[in-house]
Amino acid sequence: MRFARRDSGRAAGEGPTSSVGIGLRDGVPIALAVIPFGAIVGVGAVQAGLGKLQAIVVPYIVYAGASQLVAYQLVRVATPVLVILVTTTMINLRFTMYSAALARYLEDVPRLWRAVLAFFMTDQGFVLAVHRFESERPPARRGVYLFASWLPIFVSWTGSAVAGVLLGATVPPSWHLDFAVPLVFLSLLATALGDRPRLLAAVVAGTAAVVLAGLPLNLGMLLGSLLGIAAGTVLGRAALAGEGRP
């Protein structure tokens, strides 16, 4: 799958089926790529002592793998539920930023559908959407596009989690399948570095997060993100000012 720099040569007045087609073309490869991630989350739940039914329900209602993995680790060491909730809230705060970034593209989508779409928002889905909406030929129907690209990812990821719950004990640890999770995020990061300010944002955020990794409640990740966003914004403004634009 390519994060295409150019769409096929469709006219601007394309119909809804094209938005579905583009959505599927973008989303299905990601759906396949997140299978190891889902499976690891499923296995992690069982290893933390959750019952099979519990382990299956969580991915469907929370649908936030990074926070689930952390929650499972905390459950293993008998952390109080309140602490788990505060920690996972910090981790999932980044979804507010994604929500704010996507809002401008979805103003024409009816509010109810926006709420439904919101449920399926993920890191991968967000990067995909922004990339596609900013491309040279964005889909005509953005809401339709998002359903077409985000739903396969949901089905694949949650299905893989179920598989992980039911089959997890059988996968050998020497396969290091857990490494697939950062690899997916790494590939998304590479596609998000479109210009120098974004590169700076990533370098600052990553460095800060590494240095601050000792902070509790995943604050290192949050602070690192904020610092990176600030750095990118500053450099971006300087670049625009240099070109004589406000």
Binding site: M1, S99, L117, A202, A205
Partner: protein
């Protein structure tokens, strides 16, 4: 995990996650963002992904092992492939392949990380 703590945890996480995801999508029209914040949003993906990913590869708080070097090298190779090909499957293949190869070399050659 017993029922009440489990549902408090799972339910709380589910509600918070959805609230964050829906927040600006539902409220966005009523809360106009100043231009500076709008521009800042452009840098969210790059910053957040980097802040999520880099600590996985570089852990300053634990002793460095050969296994960590293998992961870092495999991650670097995967990053190069990702930048060039923009392909998620290719990145996975190269990254996992490099890791397995390096792990095999490390286990085969070194004292075992």
């Amino acid at each position: 995990m017993s029922a009440l703590p489990f549902w408090l945890m799972a339910g709380g996480m589910a509600l918070a996650a959805f609230a964050f995801r829906a927040s600006f999508l539902l409220l966005g029209e009523r809360i106009g963002l100043p231009p500076l914040l709008r521009r800042a949003l452009d840098y969210v993906p790059a910053a957040v992904l980097a802040a999520l990913v880099l600590p996985v590869f570089v852990d300053l708080h634990a002793a460095w092992s050969a296994e960590d070097s293998a992961r870092l090298a495999a991650g670097a190779a995967a990053f190069v492939v990702a930048s060039r090909t923009r392909s998620v499957p290719a990145t996975l293949v190269v990254g996992m392949g490099a890791l397995w190869l390096l792990q095999w070399l490390v286990v085969g050659v070194g004292p075992g990380g």
